[in-house]
Amino acid sequence: MSAKESAKSTREKAAAARAEAEAEQKRRDRTVRIIGGLVVLAVIGAIFGAVIWNNKKTASANDIVNEAAVPKGVNTSTGEYPWGYPVNKADAKPTLAIWEDFQCPTCAAVEKANGTTIEKLATDGKINLIWRPTAFIDEKTSSSSGPNPKSSLRATAAWGCAIDAGKGPEYHNTVFANQPANEGDGWSQQQLIDFGKTAGITGAAFDTFTSCVEGDNYHQWANNSYQTFIKDAVPGTPTAYLNGKEVTLDVLGDSAKLIKAVQDATK
């Protein structure tokens, strides 16, 4: 073998080794990619699995019961504003539907700033006012809440008893006026009963009211409305819709702006 041939063969060998090494590197890369990709997919899959499993566990408590008892005049599962409380009826006038949580500080602020105008628009027959209760703050504050858990839900159920007694708006305003400074502190059952007196429920009607609150008669109605709030993905409280179109907070909380918006919506 000549020296020339020997050199050529060495070069060939080196090239072959390089090609082999590169192929090996490519195989390694592919393995890394496939395994890495699968691991990341598995992580995402595990997240979804955990979520679905967790949802299944809690689903039964979140069910809407269509047959639930509702307070006098309150909407049932059917119609446009299920489980809502129509404060008045004004044919052919725009509908203002307001989602509120009794423990929501901004709701109390809006009620304080503009509650009078909102109710006057209803009593003057300029709007159909519908209050829609929710109770999401119960869960939001559950880790920090003290002696009165589930206050939003219980206050709503007690409100239902007051609606039966014909004092719906009065009771509603009383609860908001007596909202504790610290969100989540809520009210005791005794306070919710006393609010009935403040709202002007007296005599035999008060006894009926008290036993209704103590029996938690409208618990399921309150929960139905809360679950509807979740199902409809309502963005917090207060959220108001005038003929289905969202009214921003600066309008809802301002007398002049709200009156103007109602005029614009009235044909």
């Binding site: 890394v32 990341v40 869960e139």
Partner: protein, 167 residues
């Protein structure tokens, strides 16, 4: 700028973005409903989507964070990151323009909040997301980094080498 410097800058960006995604996604996964409340506040998606998006969004964020952390599919993860940050910028601008005052829910939380400090809040969120978008674009352009499972192609390694002393 030498290829070596670029590689180091890309490495820093990759790890920063990995940290951002893992933190942002992780904190959302620990909340009830995931990012559901935040998604709702944007008033962009219909009610039937928010349960899915509430979990899908943090899951995707954690997935991107994991890929960037180990440096696998770096370019694809960087492009996806840039697109997701751009989507967030559009989302925040859109709620701002429509007059709502929300917690962006970027790192947990979400929902409507008071108007106070709204301008600065939205401005700083947009600037922050723009900065992250810039980092993701850089990484998509120069995806070769240190400590990555992605292999650096030979030509990039060669370019980064000191020139050999001439003989």
């Amino acid at each position: 700028m030498s290829a070596q410097t670029r590689t180091w800058i890309s490495t820093v960006f990759r790890l920063v973005l990995a940290g951002v995604w893992l933190y942002a996604g992780g904190i959302k996964l620990l909340q009830p409903g995931g990012a559901r409340e935040a998604v709702i506040a944007y008033r962009i998606f219909p009610a039937s989507w928010v349960d899915f998006l509430g979990w899908a969004l943090p899951a995707v964020e954690v997935g991107l964070g994991a890929l960037l952390l180990i440096g696998l599919f770096t370019r694809a993860a960087a492009i996806a990151s840039a697109l997701l940050f751009t989507a967030f910028i559009i989302g925040i601008s859109s709620v701002w323009i429509r007059g709502y005052s929300i917690d962006c829910g970027c790192f947990g939380g979400g929902g409507d909040i008071t108007e106070s400090g709204k301008t600065w809040r939205y401005t700083s969120e947009l600037l922050r997301d723009a900065l992250f978008t810039g980092m993701a674009c850089w990484l998509a352009w120069w995806p070769h980094t240190k400590f990555a499972l992605d292999r650096i192609p030979a030509e990039v390694v060669d370019a980064a080498q000191e020139p050999l002393p001439s003989t």
